[in-house]
Symmetry: C2
Subunit: 361 residues, 2 copies
């Protein structure tokens, strides 16, 4: 069966069950709305994949079983990087991924996941829900028949695993590193060779010397991949991903066809998962970090100050160019930059000043 | 009518409507479950009070109108500091406040709102949802027939408004300051005179010199009270409230009497509001701060390093004594302290290291 045909039938079928059937809930035999969720993560992948499972379970639970969402891991229904198109066309009603994967659709999409030297998780949520963030994101995805919703956050990530010491910007020259997106573009300008590889290939690539370095997520996910066995140094902070927002993308027609209460349940379940995943990472990263440091004697390193400064400068170059590429990117960049400027002034005397004070003791 | 009688009738009546009536929703004429929400906040108070309104609205929306929650401001049904007892007895089915108000019930309650030099909002959520936090809190409130749920967070607060410069610990000697809870106890040990006053009295008290200083929340709420007109200096960081969790307390019998889907909706609506309020403060504080600094020329000051160090030392004294008072407080303190220790190691190389790096540029 051609994907397009299959998709049309699946899309229609899953909604037909619910057509005209609002109202009476628990008394009915089975779910009235059966949705498919496609994801960019390996099925059940800790954190990222389990957050998708949780989103599906929550929708089922809050709807009293009127809705059931079946989760597909990457490649089970469509390949990881085809979920945007799949949900746009209706092959699945909902997808779980991260907006920076869709920069091929619009460069501006990257602002809705994470930006090097940009907003932290807490600031990002503030921009999305109380700034223009989600409104702009909605405007972008609307062109593809999709409704976006923040649905998870990793918090500040780690810089990555290196087999070369980074003592100055010169050490990035010729460095072959797995670092996708805007972070990769910054590395390229520093003379490095950014490559993209799926998570599952990182360990072997690092061990065989195909790459000199790789970033992934943070201690919790990095420990699970055993990356400490294939690299000498573990660098921080993850300047390139200071609080990556994951997304749910929902087929707009499918969402609209739901009764109002179920629409609210779907969107609020995304909000719950958005907070929940950040809490999970914030709780599990410290424990994994302890294991990495104490049991595996990982050599933890901070990027030197002047490297950070240079990377910051390059990041501004990359972002300014990105904003210049099309009017929508310009609009998003303007909103994001202003919010970041204000958020920094506040963070300096709240979060940052507090964390410094707590550490003085 | 005696409060006790009124409460019993109200409690019974509001649930009787729903008895035996699960199932069919939108077709029904009115809500089947009518709940009352009592709060410790003035009705519609920006942030704190509007979060309670939002919680009520969300429950109505996700339940498709099967449930309606009517919100009462402080003093409308019961006084602010009687809501715990009121919900415990069933006068209202749900309350919105902050756990440190109930230290008279158990000293340990304070750990579930905020602790001086303790967890930030993000870390607090991690402890509550993925550590032992919410489990311990549930154990405590169960003794009062209540189910707790985190339902809002202010983020890092400000140190407060002062009419005296704080250059050394000696400047706290004799300082009359409105600062409740554990922060107040720390001030007392530094020779100060902590007092508690409702928010609405802060401006006049400060202006008339009844107090020398007051803390409140942060720029967004402080600007609204006009505190800048009555004080010379605005100190940071709010070491005493680094991420205050607000709470919903739910009458356990009322919650149990709901069908499973509505139980899930109530608890998940709390989660949504928990994240939402933090986003609101994180978005609005920077804008209010800008107004305070640019339009009102507020004199922003950081607590000196050695004052911070001394306050930290006193905080540890206060907490150790608190933990020694009863076995449950000891258990909660042990869980909180271990989590904080691990969280700090991780924050140092993630949030703190990142915010420092972002600021180097």
């Amino acid at each position: 069966m051609q994907r397009r045909d299959f998709m049309k039938k699946a899309g229609a079928g899953s909604l037909a069950l619910g057509a005209g059937l609002t109202g009476s809930g628990a008394a009915q035999a089975g779910p009235k709305y059966k949705w498919k969720m496609v994801t960019t993560w390996p099925k059940n992948f800790p954190g990222l994949g389990t957050a998708a499972n949780k989103l599906a379970a929550l929708i089922g639970e809050m709807s009293g079983g009127r809705m059931r969402v079946k989760v597909y891991g990457a490649g089970e229904l469509v390949p990881a990087f085809e979920i945007f198109d799949a949900v746009s066309r209706g092959t699945a009603e909902i997808g779980h991924g991260a907006a920076y994967y869709w920069k091929g659709k619009s460069e501006a999409a990257q602002f809705f996941s994470t930006v090097p030297f940009g907003l932290t998780a807490q600031e990002m949520n503030a921009w999305l829900y109380y700034g223009d963030g989600l409104e702009l994101w909605t405007e972008l995805y609307d062109g593809f028949g999709l409704v976006p919703a923040p649905a998870g956050n990793t918090g500040v990530q780690m810089g990555g695993w290196f087999n070369k010491e980074i003592n100055s910007l010169a050490d990035l020259d010729g460095l072959k590193m797995r670092i996708p997106g805007l972070g990769g573009e910054i590395l390229r300008r520093a003379g490095g060779l950014p490559v993209n590889l799926p998570g599952g290939e990182l360990f072997v690539s690092l061990q065989k010397g195909v790459i000199d370095a790789t970033e992934w997520v943070g201690p919790y996910n990095d420990l699970a991949f055993g990356l400490y066995k294939a690299a000498k140094y573990y660098y921080y902070p993850g300047f390139h991903e200071p609080g990556t927002t994951l997304e749910a993308m929902i087929n707009k027609a499918a969402l609209s066809s739901l009764p109002k209460d179920l629409q609210s349940i779907v969107l609020n379940a995304c909000k719950v998962v958005n907070q929940d995943l950040l809490s999970e990472y914030t709780a599990r990263n410290p424990i994994a970090l302890e294991t990495l440091l104490n049991n595996h004697k990982v050599d933890l390193r901070r990027y030197p100050d002047d490297v950070i400064k240079e990377l910051y400068r390059l990041a501004q170059e990359v972002l300014t160019e990105l904003a210049g590429r099309d009017p929508f990117s310009k609009k998003v960049y303007a909103s994001y930059s202003l919010f970041l400027k204000q958020a920094r002034t506040w963070s300096d005397i709240s979060e940052l000043a507090y964390l410094k004070a707590r550490d003085q003791a």
